[in-house]
């Protein structure tokens, strides 16, 4: 082992609950949507987050950046370079040391030309042109308003704003949908370049092919927690190298692999089983699965399953 890489982002036992009205009740109760989630991203590393829709991937990003809605209750620990990342600290870092690429293009200001938005507080025109050129946005685009952009262009504007500086941490929430393959690859190569210079990247994505291309590790989310974290190589090698049955099912469902879905749906946050969250869809379930399932180390990765070997 060479020198130990510094951990840029460390999330430990994160729990997020929304205080809200449940069906039929007159009192607000807590709906827990993220449960004891732990993940870390080191310097120079790209960690891809994949998993079922509605599993809390975006909520993780929003928790880190403190942009959750007001009725959210957050528990656990979030650290940036060893220091607790509270509301105030994140505001100091955002836009320079931490860059965020939101999932929805709604995050652009509808009443502002896009070049001004990308320049923001710390950038300059020259750098903005350089970045836009890289993403094939010509000079006409500078003075367009967001509603005049196509989905793919708006996406590229959002990405541009994140790579204006050389941030220490990029949190990208689905950066590539709407982009063609070449442009998506260009984006990821840009992330890889930044990572090779030391940036830590947390990339939430549905596009597992792209994750395979650039990520160092992949974290699989299911029903509000991480079920497995493993090196990208294990995912490329296939299901035999994976640890959690959901990860295996995930890989089997890829159109470029078997395109074979398992039955059922992810449990609703208000109606979760007590033990393993995947138990009702799992071929290996037994009595042990009803108890508490901790995250454990296994073959260089991490897994939340009592049966994984």
């Amino acid at each position: 082992m060479s020198e130990e890489k510094k951990t840029v982002l460390n999330v430990e036992d994160l729990t997020v609950a929304f205080n809200m009205y449940q069906k039929g009740a007159f009192k607000k109760t807590d709906l827990e949507v993220i449960h004891k989630l732990s993940i870390d991203v080191k310097e120079g590393e790209i960690v891809a987050v994949v998993g079922s829709s509605g599993s809390g991937k975006s909520l993780l990003a929003h928790s880190i950046l403190h942009i959750l809605p007001k009725n959210a209750k957050v528990g656990g620990k979030i650290e940036y370079c060893g220091k607790e990342l509270d509301d105030k600290y994140v505001k100091e870092l955002l836009g320079r040391d931490i860059a965020f690429i939101p999932q929805s293009v709604d995050y652009l200001d509808p009443l502002m030309h896009v070049d001004k938005q990308v320049i923001g507080v710390y950038g300059n025109k020259e750098r903005q042109r350089e970045v836009f050129d890289r993403y094939h946005l010509d000079e006409r685009v500078d003075t367009l308003y967001p509603f005049q952009l196509s989905g793919g262009m708006a996406r590229r504007v959002l990405i541009s704003s994140a790579v204006m500086e050389e941030p220490k941490l990029i949190i990208a929430d689905e950066p590539t949908p709407g982009l063609n393959v070449e442009m998506a690859m260009e984006t990821l190569n840009n992330f890889r370049e930044l990572a090779d210079k030391g940036t830590a990247v947390l990339m939430i994505t549905h596009d597992i092919d792209l994750a395979f291309e650039v990520a160092d590790r992949i974290a699989v989310f299911y029903a509000g927690t991480v079920v497995e974290i493993a090196s990208t190589l294990d995912f490329i090698m296939g299901r035999g190298f994976l640890r959690h049955p959901y990860s295996a099912a995930f890989v089997d469902a890829l159109p470029q692999k078997k395109f074979k879905p398992i039955e059922g749906t992810q449990p609703y946050a208000g109606n979760l089983p007590s033990g393993c969250l995947f138990a009702d869809r799992c071929p290996y379930r037994d009595d042990e699965c009803a108890g508490e399932i901790p995250m454990r180390d296994l073959r260089g990765g991490k897994v939340r399953c009592v049966h994984a070997t």
Binding site: K23, V50, G51, S52, S53, G54, S55, V105, D106, L108, H136, L137, D138, R140, L144, P146, F147, Q148, L149, S150, G151, G152, M153, A154, P177, G178, L179, N180, V181, E182, M183, H206, I208, D209, A249, F250, A253, L254, P255, Q256, F259, K260, P261, I262, E263, T265, Q266, Y268
Partner: protein
């Protein structure tokens, strides 16, 4: 039956650039035609024109030689990329589901729609769950063609595979014709019976632009 786009041209403003120019394309019953092209090539615009939501500036959309009906149930139905934007947030799911027809229990079971979801609001369902409703909603007996605009792009791969297996089964059972817009070539190869490259069909770009990213001013996928 045959759904045909005949020499379709379209632009969003009277003097703006053409998004689609002289497009001719047929989809026959029982066929699943994949449409692939990079972003900004007018895929979604074509989808809206074929399903009657937009009128072409030139050319015609013909269903067995006749124009699409402007009133009543349209035999060409469309499913959108963002299900959360395609449902009324103030309606409960059962109302949304029964907007155009009353799907029976058999279809709901097949679609994997659970009875308990019917009393929920759209915000209480995930994208994959909502998309099942959006598909069931348009599968009325009078539907003959289904236009799918990136319908599983926002969904995880297991849900994606579930939905496509279901749609392939239903399209075969009912001899539906489908037009499937996707960026994902491996998915297109899995589900389509034929794949069309819109960049080759669309005459607007080939001679005016050498680079694929240059024409996007004012095109289809407006920011929503």
């Amino acid at each position: 039956m045959q759904l045909k786009a005949e020499n379709i041209s379209f632009r969003y403003t009277d003097d703006g650039p053409f998004v689609l120019k002289d497009i001719t394309l047929e989809v026959n019953s029982g066929e699943r035609v994949g449409i692939v092209a990079p972003s900004g090539y007018g895929k979604s615009t074509l989808a809206k024109i074929l399903s009657g939501y937009r009128l072409p500036e030139e050319g015609k959309v013909l269903l067995d030689g006749k124009p699409l009906p402007m009133t009543g149930y349209c035999p060409v139905q469309m499913v959108y990329q963002h299900p959360e934007q395609a449902v009324n947030p103030r309606h409960r799911m059962d109302k949304i589901l029964n907007e155009a027809w009353q799907p029976d229990d058999e279809l709901l079971r097949k679609m994997g729609i659970e009875k308990s979801w019917l009393t929920r609001w759209p915000s209480e369902l995930s994208g994959g769950e909502l998309q099942r409703f959006c598909i069931a909603r348009v599968l009325g007996p009078e539907t003959k063609f289904l236009i799918c605009d990136e319908i599983t792009t926002m969904l995880d791969v297991i849900t994606q595979a579930q939905i496509w297996h279901l749609l392939m089964e239903i399209s075969e059972e009912r001899n539906l014709g489908m037009m499937i817009i996707t960026h994902n070539m491996s998915l297109a190869k899995r589900v389509c019976t034929r794949i069309v490259d819109l960049t080759k069909l669309n005459n607007v770009h080939s001679h005016t632009h050498t680079h694929i990213h240059d024409h996007e001013h004012g095109d289809e996928d407006h920011v929503h």
